[in-house]
Symmetry: C2
Subunit: 209 residues, 2 copies
């Protein structure tokens, strides 16, 4: 993903070949695919659309990917890998459980509404279009990601700072945060990403007093 190219976390993932270099043919295709899948949906996006987006003919696509579904799966897998690393880094910088949670919320809001947002939306809305065997693979990666959240929420719960159950709170947050993509428009209107994060914390009764 070209925009966050300077990010050292992305750089190390590329070096380990866990995500594609965004300047490579494969990387550029996956970025365009994420955008198209989010805008039109996976089913309504044709292989001709995908090829045109990177300036090749549809037949040439199948030199890089065996099937259209393989492209969807690659978008999802690489997105989770990148976001797990970003999340881990964000949480590591915070001290208290409360600050860890705030860092996670802010990082997830940034993933959803920032430059990886297209791919994050695909992860949520195009799940059904993935074959069952691919779903199982992606789910495994998701577990690592979710454990980051759960351990932080469980710590807060121990400290009696959380109103509801940690598991349920995480599920509520998953829905609430991913839904922001349908309405949050940072460019027009005053609410910044930090302001939105504050609102989420306030909703949970964890506002800075």
């Amino acid at each position: 993903m070209a925009f966050v190219n300077q990010n050292p976390i992305l750089q190390s993932l590329i070096a380990e070949q866990l995500v594609s270099d965004p300047s490579s043919a494969r990387g550029r295709l996956l970025n365009e695919a994420a955008r198209l899948f989010r805008d039109k949906g996976y089913e309504r996006t044709t292989v001709r659309d995908l090829a045109a987006a990177v300036g090749i003919q549809s037949g040439s696509l199948f030199h890089h990917f065996r099937t259209k579904e393989e492209i969807l799966k690659a978008v999802m897998v690489e997105t989770i890998r990148l976001n797990t690393a970003l999340m881990q880094a964000a949480a590591d910088q915070a001290d208290s459980a409360r600050e860890k949670l705030r860092a996670l919320i802010r990082a997830e809001l940034e993933s959803i509404n920032g430059q990886t947002g297209e791919a994050m939306a695909v992860l949520v809305y195009e799940w059904r279009s993935l074959s069952e065997s691919s779903q199982a693979e992606v789910l495994e990666l998701r577990d690592i990601y979710e454990n980051l959240w759960l351990s932080t929420l469980q710590q807060l719960s121990k400290e009696h700072q959380l109103g509801a159950d940690p598991f349920i709170t995480r599920r509520m947050l998953t829905g609430a945060l991913s839904w922001t993509v349908t309405w949050y428009r940072p460019e027009r209107g005053g609410l910044t990403l930090d302001g939105l994060t504050d609102q989420v914390m306030a909703m949970l009764g964890l506002a800075q007093c």
Copy 2:
């Protein structure tokens, strides 16, 4: 929707021809369509699937609806009409703003996870498949529904019982509640609908003390 057939609110809506009688040919088709659209997605559901679900041939479908999209739109329109009426009734029975909010949350959770849940999921996940002109029509109906929520949340905010902004809180709740359809399974496991409602209230810092 045959299951809630005895519901007097549904009966009056049918009498006013605002929703189809679930025992009519049209009503049965819309129920099956909601189920198929949720399970497979709108695009992956063929007119042959729809016809087979009600035991007719695909050509015969077009005697009832001019296009496939018209079926999707009808599912959405009738679902909003029914749920607005159910919501209004739930809110009217409560006295305090806090109890009104609880009634709205419980009613929406019931819509999402109960017998109209298939249609509610379609409303969230198949939005993009609706043509723009149809989207505008459905959006108008949604406004009425949303105003029910906003007036209650604004009242709570006046009473200083709400941590975050009312508009933002509603949007967070929209995401959080609709997401329950992906994980909440009342049949297996102890959490009842009332228990889940309590958890949501607790998350908002509005637990019964």
